[in-house]
Every structure is written in structure tokens, then in C-alpha cells.
């Protein structure tokens, strides 16, 4: 059986890094903060991989089925028998899979930041935040209790806020941090209500109990939850839809995606860790965790599927028009998470129909590798060029050969070209979509072609074309920057060959992922076509992109302005909510509430002004008051109160 202490240490080592560097980092470890944090994360990664290895190959599998192993549970806050907030750890295929991904990406980012943030004055603070984030993310994936997951969910939100706003002297970074926090917090409001609805139906906060009570149509709790209805929708559907709202906020699904592109204001390694590989897939993870409950409500699953597919194609279109390299990657992240989300949405429960679930988790796994690689490579490029804008880049393959190589690998992986990692997971998703929902399948097919196009647009604009300025800069960055790139490059090549269906499936049994050569032809050809178009347009500087943009006309303009979603939000919040709700509320606060308080204060002052002369300091006057008082009392007691 697993060693509980070791599993606990996985999450506690990053916490130790946070506490150590957060409390004494500036004074004691201002030079060595990065090394300390990296060593601690390295230890956590080793433990996590050891645990995952043990889970997948030694004790996790009983009679061909991967078990959910609750490791320990500490009842932290108990409401009633059964209803308690526990702090626990559960090992199952998806949490073990995340144990492979999260510490590894975090370690890569830690190593990379050693060089990227060299000379940064607040390096200790940065590493402390990274430690907090890693702790929260690991706690999130290991949670055995939905409320515990919610705590860690908010903790990753806070650490994301802190890291986006790391360059707090920049007003845009501060605004982006606030935006990310407020948007996800707004979504989490839905999540919290969803938690309460689900847990009151299941009478437990425990994941295992909730799934057992609500995930099975035969259970009385599930039957009553689907029967009880509010506004024509059953309690269970409300619950999972609201939980999905939280997931959509964290995973930047339409229409709650607006914070993700702005979050790119943070340091680039942070974007690689939080806003590409780990935190943004928390929503997918949440839906996967509660998948059996979600599957009780086909309507909500449809909602998940169409939100995912819509976000995928929406983000892909915007990504084609962006000029900031990190924003292109941000929209591509949103698009890929859309793939994971709709793969869950179309997944069934039994047998081959559950392919979507496995495919989604597979894509989460491979995407973490190649998207972290893309962001870290983009960090190297930005480090080299000192600009985020593609227009300042060009012909970089001459200057940065290693970065060029790994960036190409990552682009091929995300475009779905065999034999790179993205190919396998994307094929699995497309196959699942093909079998379940044709509309989503064609949307996804189109999006994957578009993905190849915009990724190679980025690639050709950065690495080909003409030199834009004399990059009289240092070289590519030291070993600390190149090593993570190379390791992630290897992972992006190799991750696809993992027989994922043997390990991570909905019911724990083996679900072999077949590769249908005939089926794969269309997506791969489409991706190749996308690459060819990108090469034709962007490999050498020419007037074709401008002509194409002119040909697209207003559609291009809309896409370049991100379909005016931000403006819509601004309109709704500033014109409608501010004017109709906030301003009257402010008026009431200022005039009625403050008025009452001021009135009591003012009247007290006024009355005391009037009567303060009575305190004259004259002893004999006081004696007179006393005498008068006595006389009055005497009269009252002798004559009036017989």
C-alpha cells in the first residue's frame, strides 16, 4: 500500500518552500532562493513520480481495474454526521496522472526561472509564490473532498493573482491580475452554490460519496435530486451546471475567458506553469472528477460539449489575428482546453463510449508538455528580443537554433502531426467526437486545421522572414534555460506513445486507444494544409497577408478585436450594472446609511454643547443640584408615591 507520509510530502514540500522563502526569503536567501525552491520541488517531483509509478504499476491495479485509494482523511469541520469537511488524499488514475504532470512542469519552470529572472530583486518572493501555487495545485488534484478542492481551487486563484501581478509597478499587470481574480471569483460563486446543491442532495462533501449517491440512477438520492426541480431544471442539473460554471471560469471557457489573454502580463515562466499547463486545466479536471455525476444530466453534458467546442473554434479564430506572441499562445491554450472540455462533454459512461474521457485526459497530459514548452520557448525569444510583438521578430532561427528546434517540435505537436504527442491525443478526441456528435466533430476538425495555421503563422513569423533589428544581445540563454526546453521537447515527442487507455479511464479498466490510419488521414492532411497556407503567407515577407485581411473585411476586424467580448463586458458592467445597481446602492449608502450614523453623531454633539455648561467646576453649584435632586426625590417618595 502507498506510504501516506510520502504522498503528503509531495504537497508539503512546495508549501515548505513557500513558508521558508515567504518569511525569510528576502533577508536570508535573496541569492539562494531559486536554488532552495528548485531543490524542494525536485524532491517533490521525485516523490510524485515514485508515487505515480507505484500507483500505476504496483498497487493501484486490482484485478484489472485501477482503484480509488483513499489515503487518509482528517475530519476538519463537521456539520452533521456524514456532512463534514475533511482534509484527505485520494489516489486514482487522474490524480496520479496529474502527479506526473504538475510537479514536472513546475520543476521545469523553477529551473528555467533561475536564468530567466536572474538579477530580479524580488526573486525570493517569486519563488515563494511559485511554491504556494505548486502546493495548491497538488492539493487540488489530490483532494478527497469537494470542499477541500474548493479551498485549493481558491488558493491557486490567489497565487495566480499574485504571479500575474508580480510586476506590480506596471499598471497593466495590476489590472490583469485584478481582472483574472474577479472573473474567476465570479465563476467560483457558481461553483460554491453548485457544491452546496450537490452536497445537500448527496448529504456529503466527500467525492466518493457524492459520486456513489448521485452518479448512479438506482440510488434514492440521485432519483430525488433529478426529480426535484427549480425553474424546470432538476436540482442535479443545477448543481452540475453551476459546478461547471466554476470550471469554465478557471479553464477560460466562453464567455468567461476574458481574463486569460490579459494574464499574460505575468512573467512568461508563470504563464507556462499556471496559464498553460496546470491551473487552467483545473476546470477540466473538476468535470472529470465529477464525471459520473455530470453524466446523470445529459443536458449539462451537452452544455459542456458545446461550450468546449465553441471556445475551441472561437479562440482559434482570434489566435489567427493576434500579433503579441504570448496572446496567440493564450488563445491557443483556450482552444486546446476547449478540445478537452468537449471531449468530456461527448463522452459516455460505458465501454467504448467512454473514449472521450480518456481522450480528454490524454490531451490534458500531452498539452501540458507541449504548451509549457511553447511558453518557455516564447520566454526565451522575448528574453532575446526584448519584445512581445511578432513584428519585432524574424529570422530568429539563425540566432537561436535550439529554441527554434524545440519550438518547431511543439508546433508540430499542437498541430497534430504524427508522431508528436498532440497527434495521438487529438486523434483520440476527434475519434470520440466522430462517434458521438457530428457537429462537434466537424467543428473540431476545422479548429485543428486552424490550429496548425495559426501556430505556423507564429512559427514562420518568428523564425523565418527577415531580421528585424540587430539583436545585439547575449546568446540563447544558459543551460538553466535550455535544459527545460530540451526535456520538454523530448516529452512532447514521446508523450504520445504512452498507451494512455491502459492507465487512465473512467471505470479504471483498460480501454485500448486504437489508431485508425484511415481516420487519421483527414485531420493530418488538414493540418498540413494549414501549415502550407501559413508558409505561403508568412515564410517570406509579402503582401498576401494584408490582402487576405482586406478580403476578410469586417470579419478580420472583429477577430482582431477579439469579437469585442471585452467591450461587451465593459458595456454591461459600466453602463448597465454600474448605472442601474451600483450607483443607486452607492446613493443609499451615502445618504441613508451614512445619514443615520451622522445624525446620531451630530445630535450627540449638539446636545452636549447645550448642556456642558452644567459642569461648572463650582462645588457649591453641584451641591445645589444635589439638594434639588434630593428635594424632588423626597417630594416624589413622600407625596406622589403613597
Amino acid at each position: 500500500m502507498p506510504n501516506t507520509t510520502l504522498v503528503l510530502l509531495i504537497a508539503l514540500l512546495p508549501l515548505a518552500a513557500f513558508i521558508l522563502l515567504g518569511l525569510w526569503g528576502k533577508k536570508l536567501f535573496s541569492q539562494s532562493a531559486g536554488v532552495i525552491a528548485t531543490v524542494l520541488i525536485l524532491a517533490a517531483t521525485m516523490l510524485a513520480w515514485y508515487t505515480a509509478y507505484k500507483y500505476f504499476f504496483v498497487y493501484g491495479n486490482t484485478a484489472g481495474i485501477y482503484q480509488k485509494i483513499p489515503l487518509f482523511s482528517y475530519s476538519w469541520l463537521s456539520f452533521s454526521p456524514g456532512m463534514s469537511i475533511d482534509m484527505g488524499i485520494v489516489l486514482d488514475p487522474i490524480s496520479a496522472m496529474m502527479l506526473v504532470v504538475v510537479p514536472f512542469i513546475s520543476l521545469m519552470v523553477h529551473v528555467y526561472s533561475l536564468a530567466y529572472l536572474k538579477g530580479e530583486e524580488r526573486g525570493a518572493v517569486y519563488y515563494a509564490y511559485l511554491g504556494l501555487f505548486t502546493f495548491a495545485m497538488l492539493g487540488l488534484v489530490l483532494s478527497a473532498n469537494i470542499f477541500q478542492l474548493y479551498f485549493f481551487w481558491e488558493l491557486v486563484g490567489v497565487s495566480s493573482f499574485l504571479l500575474i501581478g508580480f510586476y506590480y509597478q506596471k499598471p497593466s499587470a495590476v489590472a490583469a491580475a485584478k481582472k483574472a481574480f474577479i472573473v474567476t471569483r465570479f465563476a467560483d460563486l457558481g461553483f460554491l452554490i453548485g457544491i452546496l446543491v450537490l452536497s445537500s442532495s448527496a448529504n456529503s462533501f466527500d467525492f466518493a460519496t457524492i459520486i456513489q449517491q448521485l452518479g448512479n440512477p438506482q440510488q434514492a438520492a440521485a432519483q430525488s435530486a433529478t426529480a426535484a426541480s427549480f425553474m424546470g431544471i432538476s436540482a442535479l442539473s443545477w448543481g452540475v451546471a453551476l459546478v461547471f460554471m466554476g470550471g469554465a471560469g478557471k479553464s477560460a471557457m466562453l464567455p468567461l475567458h476574458i481574463w486569460l489573454p490579459d494574464a499574460m502580463e505575468g512573467p512568461t515562466p508563470v504563464s507556462a506553469l499556471i496559464h498553460a499547463a496546470t491551473m487552467v486545466v483545473a476546470g477540466v479536471f473538476l468535470v472529470a472528477r465529477l464525471f459520473l455525476v455530470f453524466s446523470m444530466s445529459p443536458a449539462v453534458l451537452q452544455l459542456v460539449a458545446y461550450t468546449g467546442a465553441g471556445s475551441a473554434v472561437f479562440a482559434a479564430i482570434i489566435a489567427c489575428t493576434q500579433t503579441d506572441i504570448k496572446r496567440v499562445l493564450a488563445y491557443s491554450t483556450m482552444s486546446q482546453i476547449g478540445f478537452m472540455m468537449f471531449a468530456l462533454g461527448i463522452s459516455g459512461k460505458e465501454g467504448d463510449a467512454a473514449l472521450g474521457y480518456t481522450a480528454s485526459m490524454f490531451h490534458l497530459f500531452t498539452h501540458a508538455m507541449f504548451k509549457a514548452l511553447l511558453f518557455l520557448a516564447a520566454g526565451s525569444i522575448i528574453h532575446f528580443v526584448h519584445s512581445n510583438h511578432m513584428s519585432n521578430m524574424g529570422n530568429l532561427r539563425k540566432y537561436m537554433p535550439v529554441t527554434h528546434g524545440v519550438f518547431l517540435i511543439a508546433c508540430l505537436a499542437i498541430a497534430g502531426i504524427p508522431p508528436f504527442a498532440g497527434f495521438f491525443s487529438k486523434e483520440a478526441i476527434l475519434l470520440a467526437a466522430f462517434e458521438q456528435n457530428k457537429i462537434i466533430f466537424y467543428t473540431a476538425l476545422f479548429t485543428s486545421g486552424l490550429t496548425a495555421f495559426y501556430m505556423f503563422r507564429l512559427y514562420f513569423k518568428i523564425f523565418w522572414g527577415t531580421t528585424q533589428s540587430d539583436y545585439h544581445s547575449h546568446g540563447e540563454g544558459g543551460a538553466a534555460m535550455l535544459l527545460p526546453l530540451l526535456l520538454l521537447g523530448v516529452a512532447s515527442c514521446a508523450a504520445g506513445f504512452i498507451p494512455f487507455g491502459n492507465y487512465v479511464t473512467l471505470n479504471g479498466a483498460v480501454l485500448p486507444l486504437h489508431l485508425h490510419i484511415g481516420f487519421s488521414v483527414a485531420p493530418v492532411l488538414l493540418a498540413l494544409a494549414g501549415i502550407a497556407v501559413a508558409a505561403w503567407l508568412y515564410k517570406k515577407a509579402n503582401s498576401r497577408p494584408a490582402k487576405l485581411a482586406a478580403f476578410m473585411g469586417s470579419f478580420y476586424k472583429w477577430a482582431a478585436h477579439k469579437f469585442y467580448v471585452d467591450e461587451l463586458y465593459n458595456y454591461v458592467t459600466q453602463k448597465i450594472i454600474f448605472n442601474l445597481i451600483a450607483k443607486p446602492a452607492a446613493w443609499i449608502d451615502k445618504n441613508v446609511v451614512d445619514g443615520l450614523v451622522n445624525f446620531s453623531g451630530n445630535s450627540t454633539v449638539l446636545a452636549s454643547e447645550k448642556i456642558k455648561g452644567w459642569q461648572s467646576g463650582k462645588v457649591q453649584q453641584y451641591a445645589t443640584y444635589f439638594l434639588v435632586g434630593i428635594v424632588v426625590l423626597a417630594v416624589v417618595f413622600i407625596y406622589l408615591r403613597k
Binding site: G613, G617, V619, A623
Partner: protein, 104 residues
């Protein structure tokens, strides 16, 4: 010649009380005001003794109270005199108007 009754005693004590009160309200000298307070206390003492004698002759509560008041008055006089001496040291006056600084 008849022995004085309760009313005589009450008359004396009331007269004493109002003399004391008059003194307290009209004098400016703190020592005189203190003496007036002693008169007030002693008129109360006479009341206690008189009621004790005429209403409950076989009990001693009134006497005890009187002795108690005399003891308290002695202590109070000591404190008051000390205050007055200190006042004289700082203000060079024992006039009650010299004390009118503790006010609004």
C-alpha cells in the same frame, strides 16, 4: 419642668442641618465649608440617637451608626484638610473659587 421630647431633639437637629447647609452654600472659605459639613453630619447623628431612643429603645443600631459616622467624619476631615493644605501650597489661597478649574 418637663424633659425634652422627640420633637425637641428633632428641632435641634433640623436647625443644625439648615445652619450647616447655609454655611456650606454661602461661605467661600474651604475650612468653614468643611466645618459646615461637620454640622450636617452631627445633625444626622442627633437624628439617629433620637429615633433610636424613642422608637426602638431596646436596640443599639442608631448608636452604632452614630459612632460609625463620627469615625468616618474624622477620616474625612483628615483627607479634606490635607487637600486644603495642598491647595494652599499651589494656589496660595483656600478660597473655593480657586478650585474652579476642573470644568468643561
Amino acid at each position: 419642668m418637663s424633659t425634652p421630647g422627640l420633637y425637641h431633639l428633632l428641632f435641634v437637629s433640623t436647625a443644625l442641618f439648615f445652619i450647616g447647609m447655609y454655611g456650606f452654600f454661602t461661605r467661600r472659605n474651604l475650612v468653614t465649608m468643611l466645618m459646615s459639613i461637620e454640622l450636617l453630619l452631627n445633625s444626622v447623628n442627633i437624628n439617629f440617637i433620637a429615633f433610636n431612643k424613642y422608637l426602638w429603645p431596646n436596640r443599639l443600631d442608631g448608636l452604632f451608626f452614630t459612632i460609625f459616622i463620627i469615625a468616618i467624619a474624622a477620616a474625612e476631615a483628615a483627607v479634606a484638610i490635607a487637600i486644603i493644605i495642598n491647595l494652599y501650597r499651589t494656589r496660595q489661597s483656600i478660597d473655593v473659587q480657586a478650585t474652579e478649574t476642573l470644568k468643561h
